[in-house]
C-alpha cells in the first residue's frame, strides 16, 4: 500500500514536470498538443475509491492549470476523464478478478486493451478540454480535428513512456 502511494507520487511529480516544463512548448501549429500528464490518472490502481479518484483527477488538472494559467480548464477535463475511466473499466474489466491491486498498465493488461483504453480516455479528455477552451459551439469541426490529432499525439507519447519505464514489470 505504501509502495503504491510512493510510486504514484513519484509518477505524479515526474509527469507534471514533464508536462509543464517540456511538453508545454511542443505542439504542431496548435492542432496537435500533447497532454501526457493524464497518464497519471490512467495508471491509478483499479481499486481506488471513486471519490478519491475524482479528487486526485481534479487536483491534477488544477495543478496543470496553475502552470498553464487556465484555472479550471484542465480540472474540468480531468473530472470528465475520471468519469469516463470509471465507466470504461466497469464495462471492460471484472473487478473481482484482481486481488493484488494491479495498475491498468500496458504490462499487465496487454497492448490491445491498453491502446483502446488510452485512446478512448484521451479523446474524451481532449474533447472536453478543447471545447471549454474554445467555449463556442460554432467551431465544432475545429475542436474535433484538434481533439483527434492531439489524442493521437498524446497516445503515442503514452505508449512510448510505457515501453520505456514500465515494461519490466511484466517479468
Amino acid at each position: 500500500m505504501g509502495r503504491v502511494i510512493l510510486i504514484n507520487t513519484f509518477r505524479f511529480i515526474l509527469l507534471i514536470c514533464l508536462q509543464v516544463f517540456l511538453l508545454k512548448n511542443i505542439g504542431y501549429y496548435n492542432l496537435a498538443i500533447p497532454f501526457l500528464y493524464i497518464l497519471f490518472i490512467l495508471l491509478l490502481p483499479f481499486k481506488i475509491p471513486n471519490g478519491l479518484l475524482f479528487l486526485l483527477s481534479f487536483l491534477t488538472g488544477l495543478t496543470v492549470d496553475v502552470f498553464y494559467d487556465t484555472l479550471g480548464l484542465n480540472a474540468a477535463a480531468c473530472t470528465v476523464l475520471a468519469f469516463v475511466r470509471i465507466v470504461f473499466i466497469s464495462v471492460t474489466v471484472q473487478r473481482e478478478g484482481f486481488d493484488n491491486e494491479p495498475d491498468p498498465s500496458l504490462g499487465i493488461m496487454g497492448l490491445r486493451w491498453f491502446i483502446f483504453y488510452a485512446i478512448i480516455l484521451t479523446f474524451f479528455h481532449h474533447l472536453v478540454l478543447f471545447s471549454f477552451e474554445t467555449f463556442r459551439f460554432t467551431e465544432f469541426g475545429y475542436i474535433l480535428i484538434r481533439s483527434i490529432l492531439s489524442s493521437l499525439f498524446t497516445v503515442l507519447l503514452m505508449i512510448l513512456a510505457e515501453f520505456m519505464f514500465f515494461r519490466k514489470k511484466v517479468r
Partner: protein, 275 residues
C-alpha cells in the same frame, strides 16, 4: 431517505462528476477573462432579446400618451417658428443721386392672404402704415404687375389686384396706350382684356404688353403677352386678350412702389379735372 442514499452511492461516480465539473466550471468562468466574457455576453444577449420583445409589446400600451406628448411638443415648436412672429423689419435702400432724381422706391412685402377665384380679388400683405405704405400705391411682383394698394392698417395693407372688376391699369402694346381690365367676359385668373386700342394698330399674337408709365407704375413693367386679337363687330377698337405674366395663385413676395413725384403730378393735374 435510505433509498435515496443507496441510489446516490450506487451512482456515486455520476454525482462526483457533477460536483467536480461544477467546481471546475465555476473556477474556469471566474478566473479566465475569455470564458467569462463569453458567458456574460451570451447571457446579456439572451436577456437583451427578452427585454426587447417585452418592450415591443408594452410600447403599444403607451401609444396614446406618446401621441399626446408629441402633439404638445409640435404645438410648442410651432410657437417658436419664425412664421409665428410678425416680421417687423423693412429693407429700404435709397441712394442720394444728384444727377438723376429718384422717382420710384420699392418696399418688399410678403403676401399673407390671397384670392384668385372671386369676382373681385384682394391680396393682403404684411406691410402697413408703420412701414410707410399709403393708399393708392402700385404693387408689382418679380414677374409683373399685381395691383393697387386699397386699404392700409398699422401692420397690413390690402391690395386690389389686377383680378378685380374695377381695376384699370394703363398699359401699352407696341407704343399704343390702352387700358387693362379683367373679369368682364371670363374669370380666368391668367387672362385679361386690353381695351381702347384703335383697330388700325397692328397687334400680333405674342406681343409684349407693358405698363405705360402714365399711372402709378413705372413704364415698361411687364403685364403679359397677347394671346388673341380680334375685331368686335361694328366697333372701332381692337379686342385683345392677354395672358398675364403674374401667376396670382402662386404669389409670395411683392414690391410696393412709392412714386415720389406723385403728389406733385396730382397737384398739377388737379385744376384740369372738372369739378
Amino acid at each position: 431517505m435510505r433509498n435515496l442514499w443507496i441510489f446516490i452511492s450506487k451512482y456515486n461516480a455520476f454525482f462526483f462528476l457533477i460536483i467536480f465539473l461544477l467546481i471546475s466550471l465555476i473556477l474556469l468562468v471566474n478566473n479566465n477573462s475569455y470564458q467569462r466574457a463569453s458567458v456574460w455576453n451570451s447571457s446579456h444577449q439572451l436577456i437583451g432579446e427578452a427585454y426587447e420583445r417585452v418592450n415591443a409589446f408594452t410600447s403599444y400600451l403607451s401609444l396614446g400618451r406618446t401621441n399626446d406628448s408629441l402633439a404638445a411638443e409640435n404645438a410648442r415648436l410651432n410657437n417658436q417658428l419664425k412664421t409665428s412672429f410678425f416680421d417687423d423689419s423693412v429693407e429700404q435702400h435709397s441712394v442720394n443721386d444728384t444727377l438723376t432724381q429718384q422717382q420710384y422706391s420699392y418696399i418688399v412685402a410678403k403676401v399673407v392672404n390671397n384670392s384668385v377665384h372671386q369676382k373681385n380679388n384682394y391680396i393682403t400683405i404684411n406691410r402697413g402704415l408703420k412701414h410707410g405704405i399709403k393708399k393708392g400705391w402700385g404693387v408689382i411682383s418679380a414677374k409683373g404687375v399685381v395691383g393697387i394698394v386699397l386699404n392700409v392698417s398699422e401692420h397690413f395693407a390690402t391690395i386690389q389686384s389686377v383680378l378685380h372688376s374695377d381695376t384699370r391699369i394703363s398699359a401699352s402694346v407696341n407704343g399704343n396706350i390702352g387700358s387693362l381690365v379683367w373679369g368682364e367676359d371670363s374669370s380666368d385668373p391668367r387672362l385679361a382684356i386690353l381695351r381702347d386700342i384703335p383697330n388700325h394698330v397692328i397687334v400680333k399674337k405674342g406681343n409684349r404688353v407693358v405698363t405705360s408709365g402714365y399711372s402709378l407704375f413705372p413704364s415698361g413693367i411687364e403685364i403679359g403677352r397677347v394671346t388673341r386679337t380680334g375685331l368686335k363687330g361694328g366697333d372701332s377698337f381692337l379686342d385683345i386678350e392677354i395672358y398675364l405674366s403674374t401667376d396670382f395663385s402662386k404669389l409670395q413676395y411683392v414690391y410696393v412702389i412709392n412714386n415720389l413725384l406723385a403728389q406733385e403730378q396730382k397737384e398739377l393735374e388737379a385744376p384740369n379735372k372738372p369739378q
